[in-house]
């Protein structure tokens, strides 16, 4: 009997252990555990609540702490497993799209509570799919009919999101969304206080599913992250990841100080500006730094013209394809790269960054390279006449307009100055007057009282995240808002004069079609066409982007073969290790 009991006990413990095994993710790395990584940031997190975090200062930290079902590759594509060990998308015969995620077994929150499929369902049902629960709203999860998916729990580890139409962005939208701990956040939700959860006053209750746990945060001073003992990854030798014991973000308000700290050896990684880069590179050998250069950053600056400018003469020019093409020819991109970025940049010809997997290099072949002769030819084709050094349109009006940007942005101001200079050689008189950011936003999205502007928007790998910019009814289609979207901008005369060119209609259509382009080839074809349309008609006149620049101590081992702006140097940070 006693023997039997012992056997039973052994069996039960064995089972318990067995039940506890995690579906480990095995990484192809072999480093050494231990150590602290020191990083600098110019601003600390404002909140740890992922639904209300806006700035990267918050989301960067949250990224270490809250995991997602799917991870991004270092090219920024949603194709690597995260909390879900398997995931798939299928279009059924009746035209529905089913996204299936299979969670790893044995996942735990940093407080030891199991992370289950119920957490996943709760996060989406109660928070992410509810417009009032998040700052960004739920539009990102909707298909082309503005419908949200239904959620189905298949078994204890499997969950399905079912769209009633063809939808291709599930892994980017659902897969990249932070899963929240139901056991911690449900009480806040029930009290109607979800928004305040995990704010600065409530950091004690933050639990982690990611590689690191928030240990301490002293505002304006530093954020200390500590290794999460329940993280589900191992290296190829069976060592549980992350390697690092701690990550410390030192908050440094001033960019000059940030560099001084790196030079003094107090921080491990630094992103130099293009201006500093040659100096940093020259010091690297002596200081023991690795210096690397990646592809151009995702964001971009472009010149845009108001198709609905108040002055009927001017809007006629701005809608003229030849006019905008001439401007494109007049932008001396190489000089801009040399002046602004020390030569460390790339010329942009279309709306997608060359660093994105969706980039269509065909846009470069359209030949919009700097040439005043071509610009002149283009203007002539557009009906403009150069007389006595001044440019006139077909009706004899002298060509001059106002160009603005947000004051304080050196890059945009420099682009404006160079453009003004070049356009004066074409006989165009540009009045370049930068203004305060908020005033500019007011003009762009509220009054419509502007002529030409140099501005940039946050870029991303997938052109579809710019739907708000490209769709005719989009909230950021500011160069040619429709009277329905912005009735206040239009008086009767302007309304009667509102025109949607063919290429705009097609771009709008592509932005709607791509949502359901589950087939990869079909999707690429659509995006190729989109880029060509924008580039050919120079809807927005793109300028230049700086390359991704990075310097770090040799003692830091970063497992990232190619630091890409789409994923950053800290991509797969659980693999980073440091010589002790």
């Amino acid at each position: 009997m006693k023997k039997f009991l012992v056997l039973l006990f052994v069996l039960v413990t064995a089972l318990a252990v067995f039940a506890d095994t995690v579906d480990w993710a095995i990484e192809d790395v072999a480093g050494k555990p231990g150590g602290t990584l020191f990083l600098s940031t110019t601003s600390g997190p404002k909140t740890m609540n992922p639904a209300w975090a806006q700035e990267t200062s918050s989301t960067d930290i949250i990224g270490w702490v809250l995991d997602t079902l799917v991870h991004s590759s270092n090219k920024g594509l949603a194709e690597l497993p995260g909390l879900a060990k398997e995931f798939s998308a299928k279009v059924t015969e009746d035209g529905k799209t089913v996204y299936t995620y299979v969670l790893r077994k044995g996942l735990k929150w940093s407080d030891g509570q199991p992370l289950t499929v119920d957490d996943v369902i709760w996060s989406f049902e109660k928070i992410w799919f509810d417009n009032d629960m998040t700052a960004n709203g739920n539009a990102g999860y909707m298909d082309s009919n503005d419908a949200l998916p239904t959620i189905k729990k298949v078994d204890d580890y499997t969950v399905q999101f079912i769209y009633n139409s063809k939808f291709r962005r599930g892994h980017e939208s659902i897969g990249w969304t932070e899963i929240l701990p139901k056991h911690i956040l449900e009480p806040y939700y029930k009290e109607g206080k979800f928004k305040e959860a995990w704010s600065l006053a409530d950091l004690k209750s933050v639990v982690s599913s990611g590689p690191f746990v928030l240990k301490t945060y002293k505002e304006g001073v530093r954020v200390v992250l500590e290794k999460n003992p329940y993280y589900y990854r191992k290296d190829k030798n069976g060592v549980q990841l992350p390697y690092l014991d701690q990550i410390v973000y030192v908050i440094v308000k001033d960019l000059n100080t940030e560099r001084l700290k790196f030079e003094a050896g107090e921080t491990d990684i630094y992103s130099p500006t293009a201006e500093e880069f040659p100096e940093i590179r020259a010091m690297a050998e002596e200081k023991g730094w690795v210096v690397r250069q990646g592809g151009p950053n995702l964001g971009s600056n472009f010149v845009t013209f108001n198709f609905n400018a108040k002055d009927p003469v001017k809007r006629k020019w701005f809608r003229n394809d030849n006019f905008r093409r001439a401007i494109a020819y007049a932008i001396d991109k190489q000089t801009l790269i040399d002046v602004l970025y020390n030569g460390l940049g790339a010329a942009l010809y279309g709306p997608v960054s060359p660093s994105s997997g969706f980039y269509n290099p065909e846009v470069e072949n359209l030949g919009f390279r700097y040439s005043l002769a071509r610009a002149k030819r283009e203007l002539k084709k557009g009906g403009f006449v150069l007389k006595g050094g001044k440019l006139y349109d077909a009706d004899g009006n002298p060509v001059k307009f106002e160009l603005t940007t947000n004051a304080g942005n050196n890059v945009r101001e420099e682009i404006g100055n160079i453009l003004k200079e070049n356009l004066s050689k074409l006989g165009i008189d540009v009045n370049f007057a930068p203004m305060q950011f908020n005033a500019l936003v007011g003009k762009l999205v509220a009054t419509g009282d502007w002529e030409a502007v140099i501005i940039g928007l946050t870029g991303s790998v997938d052109p579809a995240s710019g739907w708000n910019v490209w769709r005719l009814d989009g909230g950021l289609h500011f160069w040619n808002y429709s009277p329905e979207v912005k009735p206040k901008m239009f008086d009767d005369a302007l309304k009667a004069d509102y025109v949607v060119p063919e290429y705009e209609k097609r771009i709008d259509e592509i932005m709607r079609l791509q949502v359901s382009a589950v087939d990869k080839d079909e999707l690429h074809k659509l995006f190729d066409e989109f880029q060509m349309l924008v580039a050919e008609h120079q809807v927005l006149v793109y300028t230049v982007a700086q390359n991704y620049l990075i310097a770090y101590k040799k003692s830091v081992h970063i497992y990232n073969p190619d630091p890409n702006p789409a994923a950053g140097v800290l991509w797969a940070g659980w693999n980073i290790w440091k010589d002790q």
């Binding site: 002293k218 308000k253 001033d254």
Partner: protein
Amino acid sequence: MLKYILRRIILAIPVLLGVSIVSFMIISLAPGDFLDSYRLNPAVSADQVKNLEKRFGLDKSPVVQYFIWLKNILKGDWGDSFTYQIPVWDLIWRRVGATLLLSITTFIFTWGIGIPLGIYAALHQYSLGDQIVGVIGFIGLSIPNFFFALLFLFFAAKTGGKIFPVGGYISLGYDTFPAWKKFLDILWHVLGPMITLGTSGLAGTMRVMRGQLLDELKQDYVEFARAKGMPENVVIYKHALRNAINPIITALGFSISGLLGGAVLTENVFGWPGMGQLIIEALLQQDIFVIMADIMLASVLLVVGNLIADILLAAVDPRVRLRLG
């Protein structure tokens, strides 16, 4: 005296109300609002911006917004920060400690050195020492704070952060230090911003002290006291100095209002986690309630500081005491 204080406090109420109206008006006149960064974010739809406008109350006219704000304050609610989603006082109190530490040490540095140096310079007028002290003071006054701060940090970095730290509030290994070392560590870090801020205040304090004392030393009563054979030390320190110190005490009252005002640029360069940083961020993002709370706090401190200065003046100067009585 008590009646006087009470009257001053009652008179302060319309002043503060006026300050709040004017500041709210100026904030409203500035173009745009907190949601502008949302408006240019491709991930946020126009509908969601409208949704947020309504939630934050930004869809109402500034006048209505002001009265809602005032009504809430009377109920004790100063509003939440848009960025942080927590009550504004909660946010401000978190920063008070660091700012107080900096302003009090700066205060001690400026006055503790400035007053004795001013006295020394007055007593040794036109001597070499006077000239040197003057030159140093003016150098401190003429270098802009942010530039001085950068020079300081540059020096600290070039010496490997061994003599002075390269900005910040605590050392990297702070968490492992014993309590006494933690204390010293923070004091070591306060040196940079303190010297930066202090040098500019130093020259002012010193010159005022010097000028005042020189004026007093030329007065008839000083001649008279000397003629009567009163010891020089008593003449200077008991009589002349006491009369010379009046404007310094008035300035003291003003410096109370600066205690929490912080030093925006210096705090930024040194990465000092005080209120200056918070406020500059709030201003840039048009986080209205944080700005308003800070303005009101500064105004209250100014009122209180002036009151304290007047009371102190009454304490040292019988003429003032007579007037207040």
